[in-house]
Amino acid sequence: MKKEELENINSYLTFKLGEEEFAAHVSKVLSIMEMVKITKVPKSPEYMQGVINLRGQVLPVVDTRIKFGMTPTEFTANTCIVVMEVEVNGESVQVGTLVDSVQEVLEISDDQIQPPPSIGSKYKSEFISGMAKLDEHFIMMLDMDHVFSAEEMLNVQASAEDGKQQAAEVTETSGPVSG
C-alpha cells in the first residue's frame, strides 16, 4: 500500500508502557521485532538505549519509557522493539522504540479521539495528540514525529553535553539483555 493511502486509514498500533496503553498510527510503524542484544553507545543520553542490527542496517533504539518520563524499561519476555519511521526536520529517520508489550492493531475513528488532557498527566503530555476512549479504558494517541522533533533532538545534544561532564558519576542503569 502506498504511504499516502496508509495515512488516510484509521488504523493504530497499540502498545503498553507499564499499565498505560498508547497508540501510534500504522503509517509510522515499519515492523515489530522481538528483543535482541542492544549495543550501548558510550556517552549518550540515558534514553538512547544503543544500536541494533536491523537486517544489516544499524538502527538506534530509544527507551520510550525514559523518554516519556517513566522509569527505565525492565526487560521481560514481552518487551518488543517497534521500528518506526519518523520525520525529523523534514528528513525521515528510522528508529527502534522499546515498549513493554505490543497489543493489537485497532480501528479508531477520528470522532473517538478527544483532545489531550492539558494538566494532570503524569507523562510528558506534549507527545500526546489525543485520547481515545474504547470500552472502559483510555488509549493515548502519540504524535511520533513530535517525539523526535527538532527541539527534542536539541535536547539529545544538550544531554549529550551534560553526559560528557557527568560521565564519571553516571553508572550503568540497564545492561543489554538478549531476548
Binding site: M48, V51, V58, P60, K164, A167, T171
Partner: protein
C-alpha cells in the same frame, strides 16, 4: 521521451568528456588520423543525438565544429594551436548548452555567437584554400549514411499511368539499404477486387548515403498520384542495427502502419544505444562488431544501486558468518558442506562487489590534463603532464573526493614548482617542465605521487615564513622533514605574491584535511633545484577497514588497525590505582585511558587488562580494554542521524553473530578525554 532525453544527457556528457580527452591527445599528436576520426565521431554522435532530442542549439553548434573536423579529416585543414583553443572552448560551451537546454543565459548567448563566428572564420580560411578542388555539394554529409522513413501511399488508379510501384521500390533499394513494409489491409475480398486498382501502400525504412533529394527523385513521376512523406529518422544507418531490424520484423507483421512517431521512438532508442559507436560509414559489420563489444565491456548503473548492493553484500557476509558458526556446531555433515559452499560463493561475491565499486584513476585524468594545459598557458610556462598507472583502481567515493585535493596539488606544482622557460634554461633544464602523476598499489593502500621537476621547496624560506607567521619560534630547531611538514599548517603560503592561481593562504592544510576525510594522508619531499614530490596515501575502500576487535564489558569495539601501535598486557592494579594515568611500557612512560572508567562502566573484576597503544599525532597513548579478540575486517556503517553528536564513534559494524560493534575514532576520543580530564583537574583545584 523524457527517459530518452535523460539517457541522451548522460551519453552526451560522456561523449563530451571523451571528446575533450581526445582533443588533448590530438594536441600532442596533431597528425594522428585515428584521433581526428575519434574527435569527429564524438562530435557527430552529439550532433545526432542533439537534434533528435530537441537540443537544436547544441546540434547546430556542433554541426559547425563537425564541418571543421571533417575538413581536417579530408586533409584540407590542419590542426593547430588556435584551432584547438577554439575547439576546447567550444567543448566547454557545449557543456553549458547541455545544461541550459533551451533557456540560454545572456553570457552563454554571447559566447555562442562569438564561438560560432570564430568557427565560421576557421571554415572560411579553408574554403578559399580549397576552392580549386572539386568539392561535393555537401562534403560534411557526403559519405554519411542516413536513415529515412518513407510512407508511400499510391492512389488506387496509379496503374492507369503504367506505373508499377514495385519498380519504385526496386529503385529505392538501389539507393542503399531498404526495409519495405507493404500493408494489405485495404485489399478487398477476392470477388470485389478490381485488378486495375492498387490497394497496397508501403512504409519504407531506407538507409542511404544519398541526399534526401535523391529519394524525392525516385517518386518524381508519381508525386501527384500518391501521398509521399519522407522523413529523416537518424543520422546513422539504423538498419545496420540488429535490434532495430528485429523490432521492424515484429511490428511489420501487424496490419496497421507503424507511423512516424513509433519509428522515431524506436530510432531514438537505437541511436541512444549507438551514440558511442561512431558513424555508420565504417560499414554495418564494423558497427555491429563495435556494438557487441560495447555491450559486453560496460554497462551504466546508478551509483545508488551500487551502494545498495554493497550493503546487501555486507549483510550477506555477516549472515554467512552465522551460518558457518551454526554448521560447525551442528552434527549435520551435509549442512557443513553447504555452509562451506556458501562461504566460498560469498567470498567471491564480496570480492566481486567491491571490485565493481572501484573506478580507475584514469577517470580523473582529463580534468588534470586540461588544468595543466590551461594553467601553463596562462602563466606562460611550458608544462607537460605525464601519467603512470592510470589503470590503478580506487573506490568511487574516494575518487570523487580525491579530485579537488589533487587539482590543488597540481596547481601548486605549476604555479610554485615549475619555473618559467627562461629560468629553466638558465638552470640547465629542458625548457618544458614535467609533472609526473603516478598511481600504484602499496599493500592495502593506493599511493598517488605528484612529482614536478621544478625548483623545489626552499627550506630556509619556509622557516622564515613560519617564524614570521608565528607558527614556530625563531629558536626552534627543526629537521628538514619537519620544516617541509610546515607547509601543511593552516595559514601557510610560500608564494611571495598572491596569484589568482594558488597562494591564497588556503593551501595545503585544506588538502590535508580533505584527504583526511577519506582516510588519506599526504607527505611531501623536496630536493632544492630538482623538484618536489607529494605522495598521497589512500585506503583501497572506504567501506571496509582493518580493525582490532576488543572486548569492553558487554560490548565489542573495533579500533582501526592503522592507529594501533602495539598491544601490551598489564595487571589490573597497575591501571586502576595510579595517580596520573601513566604506565611504563618498554621503558617508556605512556599516558593511558582506562576505557571502562571513561565510558562510565563499572570496574572490571579481572586480574589482567590489555593495553592497546595507539598513535595520536606523534605521541603514543594507551587504551585499556578488557581483552583483545583479534583482527577483524569491519564493514563500516553509519550510526545514523540520531547519533550525529557522537564523534568518538566513527561508525558501527555488524559481527558474525549479528550483534553490533562500535568503531572507535581514537583521535577524537583522546581529544575528548583529555578535555574532560583537564576540566576535572580545574574543578578539583578550584574547590
Amino acid at each position: 521521451m523524457d527517459k530518452f532525453k535523460k539517457k541522451f544527457l548522460e551519453e552526451a556528457t560522456d561523449n563530451l568528456a571523451e571528446l575533450e580527452e581526445a582533443l588533448l591527445k590530438l594536441e600532442q599528436a596533431p597528425n594522428d588520423s585515428g584521433l581526428i576520426e575519434r574527435v569527429f565521431r564524438y562530435m557527430h554522435s552529439i550532433k545526432g543525438g542533439g537534434s533528435m532530442f530537441g537540443f537544436t542549439g547544441l546540434s547546430d553548434f556542433t554541426h559547425h565544429l563537425e564541418n571543421i573536423y571533417d575538413r581536417i579529416r579530408e586533409g584540407t585543414l590542419s590542426v593547430n594551436q588556435g584551432l584547438l583553443d577554439v575547439t576546447l572552448e567550444a567543448v566547454d560551451h557545449m557543456k553549458n548548452l547541455l545544461q541550459e537546454d533551451d533557456q540560454l543565459s545572456p553570457e552563454t548567448e554571447i559566447k555562442h555567437k562569438n564561438l560560432t563566428v570564430q568557427m565560421m572564420q576557421l571554415l572560411e580560411t579553408r574554403e578559399q584554400k580549397g576552392a580549386a578542388e572539386p568539392v561535393k555539394n555537401n562534403p560534411g554529409q557526403g559519405e554519411q549514411q542516413k536513415t529515412y522513413y518513407i510512407t508511400f501511399d499510391p492512389a488506387e488508379e496509379i496503374f492507369d499511368n503504367g506505373t508499377n510501384p514495385l519498380f519504385l521500390m526496386d529503385e529505392l533499394a538501389g539507393l542503399g539499404d531498404l526495409y519495405a513494409m507493404p500493408f494489405l489491409e485495404r485489399v478487398p475480398l477476392l470477388e470485389d477486387i478490381d485488378p486495375r486498382r492498387c490497394y497496397t501502400h508501403w512504409e519504407v525504412v531506407l538507409s542511404t548515403t544519398e541526399e534526401e533529394q535523391a529519394i524525392h527523385d525516385v517518386f518524381i513521376f508519381v508525386e501527384d498520384q500518391a501521398h509521399i512523406d519522407i522523413r529523416l529518422l537518424a543520422d546513422t544507418n539504423l538498419l545496420a542495427d540488429a535490434s532495430f531490424r528485429k523490432t521492424l520484423d515484429e511490428k511489420g507483421q501487424q496490419d496497421q502502419g507503424l507511423g512516424l512517431d513509433a519509428l522515431k521512438a524506436l530510432a531514438a532508442g537505437c541511436v541512444a544505444g549507438e551514440a558511442q559507436q561512431g558513424s555508420a560509414e565504417e560499414g554495418r559489420r564494423v558497427v555491429e562488431q563495435v556494438k557487441k563489444d560495447d555491450v559486453l565491456s560496460s554497462i551504466r548503473v546508478g551509483s545508488e544501486k551500487i551502494d545498495h548492493m554493497m550493503n546487501l553484500v555486507s549483510e550477506l557476509v555477516t549472515t554467512q558468518a552465522r551460518l558457518s558458526l551454526h554448521a560447525e556446531q551442528s552434527e549435520d555433515g551435509e549442512l557443513a558442506a553447504i555452509a562451506e559452499n556458501v562461504q566460498k560463493l560469498t567470498r567471491q561475491l564480496r570480492d566481486n562487489a567491491f571490485d565493481i565499486a572501484l573506478v580507475p584513476v584514469e577517470t580523473m585524468l582529463t580534468r588534470f590534463h586540461r588544468l595543466v594545459r590551461d594553467l601553463s598557458n596562462s602563466l606562460n610556462k611550458s608544462v607537460r603532464l605525464v601519467t603512470e598507472g592510470a589503470e590503478t583502481e580506487l573506490d568511487k567515493n574516494i575518487i570523487e573526493k580525491l579530485t579537488d585535493p589533487l587539482l590543488h596539488i597540481l596547481r601548486n606544482s605549476i604555479d610554485h614548482g615549475i619555473e618559467t622557460p627562461d629560468e629553466r634554461l638558465k638552470a640547465g633544464k629542458p625548457e618544458e617542465g614535467k609533472i609526473t602523476l603516478k598511481a600504484y598499489y602499496s599493500g592495502a593502500s593506493v599511493h598517488i605521487q605528484v612529482h614536478d621537476d621544478g625548483k623545489g621547496l626552499d627550506t630556509e624560506k619556509i622557516k622564515e615564513k613560519a617564524i614570521e607567521r608565528q607558527i614556530i619560534s625563531p629558536e626552534s630547531i627543526l629537521s628538514r622533514k619537519e620544516i617541509l611538514e610546515l607547509i601543511f599548517l593552516p595559514g601557510f603560503s610560500t608564494s611571495a605574491n598572491v596569484t589568482d592561481v594558488s597562494g591564497r593562504g588556503v593551501g595545503m592544510d585544506v588538502v590535508r584535511r580533505n584527504l583526511a576525510d577519506i582516510r588519506g594522508e599526504v607527505e611531501v619531499d623536496s630536493e632544492p633545484g630538482s623538484g618536489t614530490t607529494l605522495t598521497v596515501k589512500l585506503p583501497l575502500t572506504l567501506s571496509i577497514i582493518d580493525g582490532l576487535l576488543v572486548q569492553l564489558a558487554d560490548n565489542q569495539y573495533v579500533i582501526p588497525l592503522s592507529a594501533v601501535d602495539k598491544i601490551y598486557a598489564a595487571r589490573h592494579s597497575d591501571v586502576v590505582d595510579t595517580f596520573n594515568n601513566l604506565i611504563v611500557l618498554d621503558g617508556e612512560r605512556i599516558p593511558f585511558f582506562y576505557l571502562r572508567e571513561e565510558f562510565g562502566l563499572p570496574e572490571s573484576d579481572s586480574e589482567t587488562e590489555e593495553i592497546v597503544v595507539v598513535q595520536y599525532d606523534n605521541n603514543r597513548i594507551g587504551m585499556v580494554v578488557d581483552g583483545v579478540i583479534g583482527e577483524y575486517q569491519a564493514v563500516l556503517k553509519s550510526l545514523g542521524k540520531m547519533y550525529k553528536y557522537q564523534d568518538m564513534i566513527s561508525g558501527a559494524t555488524i559481527l558474525g553473530d549479528g550483534t553490533v560493534a562500535l568503531v572507535m575514532d581514537t583521535n577524537k576520543m583522546i581529544d575528548r578525554f583529555s578535555e574532560e580530564h583537564q576540566k576535572k583537574i580545574y574543578v578539583e583545584s578550584s574547590k
